[in-house]
Amino acid sequence: MGKYLGMEVSFAAAEAVKLCNVDVVAAYPITPQTHIVERLSQFVADGELDAEFVPVESEHSALSLCVGSQAAGARSFTCTSSQGLALMSEIVYIVPALRLPIVMILANRSLSGPLSIWNDHSDVMSVRDCGWIQLFVENGQEVFDHVIIAYKIAENHNVLLPVMINMDGFILSHMFEPIKLMEQEDVDAYLPPYQPKFVLHPDKPVTMGAYAMPALFTEAKKAQEEALLASYPHILQAWKSWEKVSGRSYHPVETFCSEDAETLFITMGSLGETAGEAVRVLRGQGKKVGLLKLRLWRPFPFHDFYKAIGNAQRLIVLDRAVSYGGPGGPVAGEIRSALYNMENRPQVINFVAGLGGREVSVESFLEMFISSVEGKASGYQLFGVRG
């Protein structure tokens, strides 16, 4: 079913982009994403990938160029992190409004200031409401798989929305991991060539990006919201089809030891593996603890979430971004919202941890568990502040 190789996860991501036969890559260097585009650039230079590699002069132009190329019918790819995402964020909101199925890898990195090249989720949280389909991956294999899955989801005519793949910067991007690459024929069978629904071409002129007066704006946004909500079954279907090709299955919410759990850790991204280790330790101590991993962030998988929490009475929610002056981290905020109408809703204890690349270890999770159970932690706190 494919070769199994040890490689840097960034390179695995580039391999996946190559297997997708993308037509246009436009990107700007920023740590820790740069290895992905360097690799793609080498593929193009070596004739291994027949694409236009455009080394643009800023991230704003990277996404803008991809909008132009996607609108003209080309399968387009970009990736960025942190400040680059912030710079292109003006365009990020426009892409789903134009219904363009661009795929972007976000190597999650902290937003300045202070400047930090290290990993947290402040970048993706800053565009939470942008309208893209947003997924989190936990390890190198998931990065590789989801590039291909992302195009499958995005280009579906019942979806036609851009997809953002969140992979933790450095923790994933710069790690060597075992990756099972797919064969080109299998990827081609799973992901057919891009067929645009509307395209810029003189044979059939269209106008894209008209402006909307108040009388029409709400309806345009309603259409966009409906499109994002309606993508859910197609996301599931893309995962199901992927399972048939690869043997690997993915779900909007994934659980570990959660069936009889009284307490659940909730994580997104690579921390899930660490949390899983902590769950094993605690289970060894007889504690009824489990783990819930949110893979699909947008559209938020409310039903999968309710099913996954079962009868847990305590949710320890890991956030990796701060909403200054607000009620806590963004993920905990969403989860509290999701639980609001529930009778006997579980307690939500929110830890903001792992900011700017600060390590979150198995011990950290054990500490969080103990302080939650002992009632020392409640509501919202920043974990591990020194001094």
Binding site: S61, H201, M208
Partner: protein, 315 residues
Amino acid sequence: MRNINAYVVKTLSSREYIAPGHRACAGCGEVLAMRQVQKALGRNVIVASATGCMEIVSSPFPFSSWEVPWIHVAFENAAAVAGGIEAALKVLQRKGKIEGKKIFVAAMAGDGGTADIGLQALSGALERGHNFLFICYDNEAYMNTGVQRSSSTPFGASTMTSPVGSAQIGQLTWKKNMMAIAAAHGIPYLATASPSYPMDLSEKVVKAAKTEGPAYVHVLSVCPSGWGIPSDTTVKFGRLAVETGFFPLYEIEEGKYRITVDVEELLPLEMYLKPQGRFRHLKPELIEQISRRVRAEWRELKRKAEEQKEIEERE
């Protein structure tokens, strides 16, 4: 060039690519230019527009004036979007996914979307050598948002953010030289143009579109609303801008300068400036100061063009 009545425009295409019903002001020189540009480009073109007058007047959803494929994304990225369209056509034709016919790619922006907020994307696209044409429709201020100054606003002009007052004469800086900036990128073709000279504009747009690599055309777009002139004097002021030397019509082809509409004797600059509301406050000394610089720049341009003629004659 005084014999305006001798001008014959009938060799321009009669096909319209900008549908009527757009929301431009009466007498808008910019939409006049855009209509002429579109006639020159024909139907095999894809246009990427920046936010601005032309984008707004032509695309109030659910209506559109555009009879060619058109996209608007944001204010500062027309050149980047156009670069993307160009890259897509290149690779899709190479891969045999679409038919290999010639399709022009044109980016269009106002002076703000070119010289200010759009400068980075323009510079990047010119440097990368995309095969496209960038057209700046220069009405010398942010007109769509109500006449705020841009780096293209002429010295001494009064705008809402460079107003004339007891302590200030209006715009305090000289108009940014976009032709020099574009030329510094070493692109194969660039030109200034004016819709008051439709044949000159048309020839230049066709030349620019057919250029292999990046081309830049800077169009003076007379704006009666913003400049404070009657809406039926657009074409006249466009001619005065050229005839006073304020906006010379020239092209730079492979680095060679050529004046395409020569003026034997420049008209006095106040014929152009004084009747405009935005310049009405200018005292004679200031007009003289501006005139000196306009004439110096005109002489420098003539020198470059003469130098070029001499080189060609020698060869």
